[in-house]
């Protein structure tokens, strides 16, 4: 075995081999793959091998389409035959919501240049002559879907990598991993020791074992998934070489495809079954679990009714194999914080369909320090410290049960909750608040009242809770409203080097003492890594505040850029302070009753910070908010949150105070055109594309990360610009990743949308071609298959001169 390599990949399934292959394609050929058993011995060899492009997630579509494109040329490119049938696929919709979902996904696919089609029941039968379309409203056709032989795919990737210089050591089990003082990684195996700059954990369901060797916990659990293969079916034998398209019936929850002259049927059953909760048996490889067809009975019956030829042949074989699940069923791809050079690329539930795209992403992480695409929903850092075995199990089972659930724009699923609660949680719950979990934190999303409509809870159209949001927005606009917002990510930055370091980290200006400013952290390509409120507390302390879900991501970015001389110190104080947001024209009148601090414009202007007394504590009070009204964010020690909330409520009652939730906040921020991190702002966009020019000090003397890239972009002019659109919508607003058209030409993409209750207009925030980013330009947004007139507005749409914020 070699003793040194540039990169070591641990795990020889489809994903590990794809990672190895993609590394070689990026020119990293001094690479090694270690496989404890044989290639494919984990979850790859028994996979059904389906290769869909469909997903309700923009990122997953992108990743899977990379796979199918790669697979269609791989055999020829590397000289290794692969049985890959591009049969296309048909999905069935039984309900109107499913039709809405299909329309939305078709639009997403079109935006990526993938020709999905909606099908009428008659067109479904044209594609798949054996489907009984009774009760079916519509179908979706994915022309690039198909099935591939997982073992051949893996071998082909391995051959392509080997031919380029990679080495693969089978029967080589990793026993421990150590980090050397030089920063290199030393991997110990039962066949010897090897060192490398970088390590990729592609160990599939054993990904957690590998992570534990470097002291990290990865949220992975093993579930079993079964599919059955029938004997030959006479009707298919008669068709000869013609192959049926894949069939997916998500409202019942199964897939079905042709395998030789028989069919494969694979249900995602409600009785999801977990395995190996204590530990994974060391000797398990190339094995299956015992059949358990009882779990599938009702699905088999439903499938036989839908496709009667299924019932004309007996079952030849049942495959029941282990599949890794992260809580949301998406893989864990990305760098391990605090472990430079160590990466994860594991927990693939759909590893065959995703191996191609995943290999590209992880190879780019290693070779370039960042991937071309922003794939945050797949990033291993999305799970915060609290995610443990119990959480993973609860969430993974729920995900398995909903594997074919409808991907609504907003839905709060119940498993694994409540995990983190604010002291005011029970108070809000007693008022009937509906909650959603963000970074594990329970936050109120809305407050229903008696008499509000109750259905539908989730929809691509405006759901029942829009009545509640309207009420909450009105309180913020006309009176005063309060939001308990626990879990804001908060870092306290101190030290002699802090001002200069912060200045280098952000594109904008570090605020003066007592002031606060929104700031953008860029990568060296100018892409937006994160957005934080930077506050200068005036006593040598700086606070950085960002999204709850970004805690691990943001801390990683900050710490990996800390100067080595110890002149800057970062403390994560996220859980030590709760946040109460008080907004509305009467917010000053309210808070003045609770503090002796002067809240006047002269003493406490917009975008400033003061430490004020309130209740029995002190609050770091910021005169900023995300809704565009007069208001304050109060950050108080967590143990005081309930008492301060109660004081605010008592003082607010005579003023007509109302609670508001995240859904109302989202509506209000759309009207102000405030961007949302990882929705509107990703690494694929620069601040100039995001129309955030006013937050960039391009000629900052000390420079900043991304400055050179932005200077180049400024000279050339950005290709796209972020604009608000006023949409002539009916009962459905633009969901994220809706397409923007100029006539029949795609000219942009919506990144968030919704209804604005103060403006009484449907709003979309979108990136459009720069020449069209002019107020008054008439464009069209595709919403659930229909193009709606949309006029480019001037931001902010609401209160354009910020008079209310300054009020």
């Amino acid at each position: 075995m070699k003793t040194h390599a540039r990169v070591i990949v641990i795990g020889g399934g489809a994903v590990g081999c794809s990672a190895l292959y993609h590394l070689t394609q990026l020119g990293l050929t001094d690479v090694v793959l270690l496989e404890r058993d044989e290639l494919t011995a984990g979850s790859t060899w028994h996979a059904a091998g389906n290769c869909p492009n469909f997903s309700t997630s923009w990122n997953v579509i992108k990743l899977q389409r990379h796979s199918t494109r790669l697979y269609s040329t791989l055999a020829e490119k590397v000289g290794y035959d692969i049985n890959y049938h591009v049969t296309g696929s048909v999905r069935l919709a039984h309900t109107r919501d499913r039709v809405d979902e299909f329309r939305h996904v078709v639009s997403q696919a079109h935006a990526q240049g993938i020709e999905f089609e909606m099908l009428s029941p008659a067109e479904i039968v044209e594609r798949h002559p054996f489907v009984d379309t009774t009760g079916i409203l519509a179908g979706l056709y994915d022309p690039y879907d198909g099935d591939i032989d997982p073992a051949q795919l893996t071998q082909a990737l391995a051959k392509g990598a080997r031919d380029a210089g990679a080495k693969i050591y089978r029967g080589t089990k990793v026993t421990s991993i150590e980090r050397l003082p030089s920063g290199e990684w030393r991997v110990h195996t039962d066949k010897g020791t090897i060192q490398a700059e970088s390590v990729i954990n592609a160990a599939g369901y054993r990904g957690g074992e590998i992570a534990a060797m470097v002291g990290e916990y990865l949220p992975i659990v093993t579930l079993s998934h079964q599919y059955l293969i029938t004997e030959d079916i006479p009707a298919l034998v008669e068709r000869g070489d013609a192959r049926l398209p894949l069939l997916r019936d998500p409202d019942v929850s199964y897939y079905m495809r042709q395998e030789r002259q028989g069919l494969i049927l694979g249900p995602y059953e409600w009785q999801a079954t977990a395995h190996w909760l204590d530990r994974i048996p060391d000797e398990f490889a190339n094995q299956l679990f015992d059949d358990d067809l009882g779990r599938l009975e009702q699905y088999i019956e439903a499938a036989c009714e839908r496709v009667p030829i299924l019932g004309t042949a007996g079952v030849k074989k049942v495959i029941n194999g282990p599949i890794p699940y992260a809580p949301d069923g998406n893989p864990l791809i990305g760098p391990a914080p605090g472990l430079p050079g160590f990466y994860h690329c594991c927990a693939f539930t759909f590893g065959i369909a995703q191996a191609g795209g995943a290999g590209k992403i992880i190879a780019e992480w290693v070779a370039h320090g960042q991937p071309e695409w922003d794939v945050w929903p797949l990033d291993s850092r999305r799970y915060l410290e609290f995610a443990n075995d119990k959480f993973v199990l609860a969430k993974a089972i729920e995900t398995y049960q909903h594997e074919y659930g409808i991907g609504y724009p907003a839905e709060e699923r119940a498993a694994g909750r409540p995990a983190k609660t604010s002291p005011a949680y029970l108070r809000l719950a007693a008022k009937g608040a509906k909650f959603g979990a963000r970074g594990g934190w329970e936050r109120a999303v809305y407050f229903p009242k008696a008499g509000d409509p109750t259905e539908p809870e989730a929809s691509f159209r405006r759901p029942a809770w829009h009545k509640a949001i309207e009420r909450e927005c009105e309180a913020a606009e006309k009176r005063v409203a309060v939001l308990d917002l626990p879990g804001f990510t908060k870092f306290e930055v101190t030290g002699a080097g802090a001002p200069a370091w912060l200045d280098h980290m952000v594109a904008g200006v570090v605020p003066k003492p007592g002031r606060t400013a929104l700031n953008y952290f860029l990568n060296d390509k100018g892409g937006i890594v994160t957005e934080m409120t930077l506050t200068n507390l005036g006593d040598g302390r700086y606070w950085l505040i960002s999204a709850a879900a970004g805690e691990k991501h943001d801390e990683h970015w900050l710490r990996e850029h800390l100067p080595a001389d110890g002149s800057v110190r970062i403390d994560n104080v996220s859980a030590r302070y709760g946040s109460l947001i008080v907004v509305g024209p009467k917010s000053r009148e309210l808070l003045s009753q609770l503090t002796r601090a002067d809240l006047s414009n002269a003493a406490f202007p917009w975008l400033s910070v003061r430490t004020i007394d309130i209740g029995y504590t002190k609050a770091v009070a910021l005169r900023v908010n995300y809704v565009g009204e007069l208001g304050w964010e109060l950050h108080v020690p967590v143990e005081h949150v309930l008492s301060v909330y109660d004081l605010i409520w008592a003082a607010g009652e005579p003023l007509g105070i109302a609670d508001y939730g995240l859904y109302a906040m989202d509506s209000l921020r759309l009207e102000k055109c405030y961007r949302a991190w990882k929705g509107d702002l990703t690494t694929e966009y620069t601040p100039f594309m995001a129309s955030l020019d006013r937050f960039v000090k391009l000629d900052k003397p000390g420079g900043f990360i991304g400055q050179a890239a932005l200077q180049r972009e400024a000279a050339a002019g950005p290709k796209e610009r972020f604009v608000p659109l006023i949409v002539e919508a009916t009962d459905a607003d633009a969901a994220a990743v809706s397409i923007v058209y100029d006539g029949d030409t795609q000219v942009g993409l919506v990144t968030s949308g919704g209804y604005g209750y103060r403006l009484k207009q449907s709003i979309a925030l979108a990136y459009v071609r720069t020449d069209l980013a002019v107020p008054g330009t008439v464009l069209y947004v595709e919403i659930l298959g229909e193009r709606r007139r949309a006029v480019v507005g001037k931001e902010p749409l609401y209160d354009p001169d910020n008079l209310r914020l300054r009020g």
Partner: protein
């Protein structure tokens, strides 16, 4: 979370240290798991009574800057020979060298086993053979013992030794009345820590 197998009440148990934001969830799980086992809530006063039965000291009541670990029977917490030394070591060594301890914390139990026995609060005089030799620092009704109990410091110029404690006629004065009592160095409840170690 961090679980410590320690106790301030003298029973088998754990103290769970967890992030504040997870308390509600964990608390509700404890209630659920504890319901079939007869889990009950206990408050601060119950904790106080239990700790007095176990002779556990309370900072500012039983131990303060006028009391040394040796006085308080806490000599087992002193790492005499640790390499870096510690603040106060010289004073403790001097006290040790000066002979038998002349002042020690003792556990007190009233002889009156009825439920009308007076309660001890603090500063009640402790009397040996008619002479006041100390006073109560904390007291409680010991619900597990069914007795009125307390603890306090007593002094003797010749040293507070076991035979001196065993030989006298002991009383506690409560509201100008003297009540016969017993005194000893070890706790009244589970002196061998069998419950804690179970």
């Amino acid at each position: 979370m961090r679980a410590s197998r320690i106790t301030y009440v003298g029973e088998l148990g754990w103290e769970l240290y967890l992030p504040a934001e997870h308390c509600l969830d964990v608390y509700e799980q404890l209630l659920e798991a504890g319901a079939p086992l007869g889990l009950a809530h206990a408050g601060y006063h119950a904790m106080g009574a239990c700790r007095v039965e176990k002779g556990y000291k309370h900072w500012s009541h039983d131990i303060g800057d006028e009391d040394t670990p040796l006085d308080a029977g806490l000599g087992f917490t002193v790492a005499w020979d640790k390499p870096g030394g510690f603040v106060g070591r010289d004073a403790l060594l001097a006290q040790k060298a000066a002979g038998p301890l002349r002042r020690r914390l003792v556990q007190v139990m009233l002889e009156d086993a009825s439920d009308t026995a007076p309660l001890l609060y603090h500063e009640e005089p402790i009397v040996r053979d008619g002479v006041i030799v100390g006073s109560i620092r904390s007291g409680a009704w010991g619900h597990r013992l069914g007795r009125s109990i307390g603890m306090g410091y007593v002094s003797c110029d010749d040293g507070v030794a076991a035979d001196w404690l065993a030989s006298g006629r002991w009383e506690v004065e409560v509201a100008c009345r003297r009540h016969p009592c017993r005194v000893q160095l070890q706790p009244w409840y589970d002196p061998r820590n069998e419950r804690i170690r179970s």
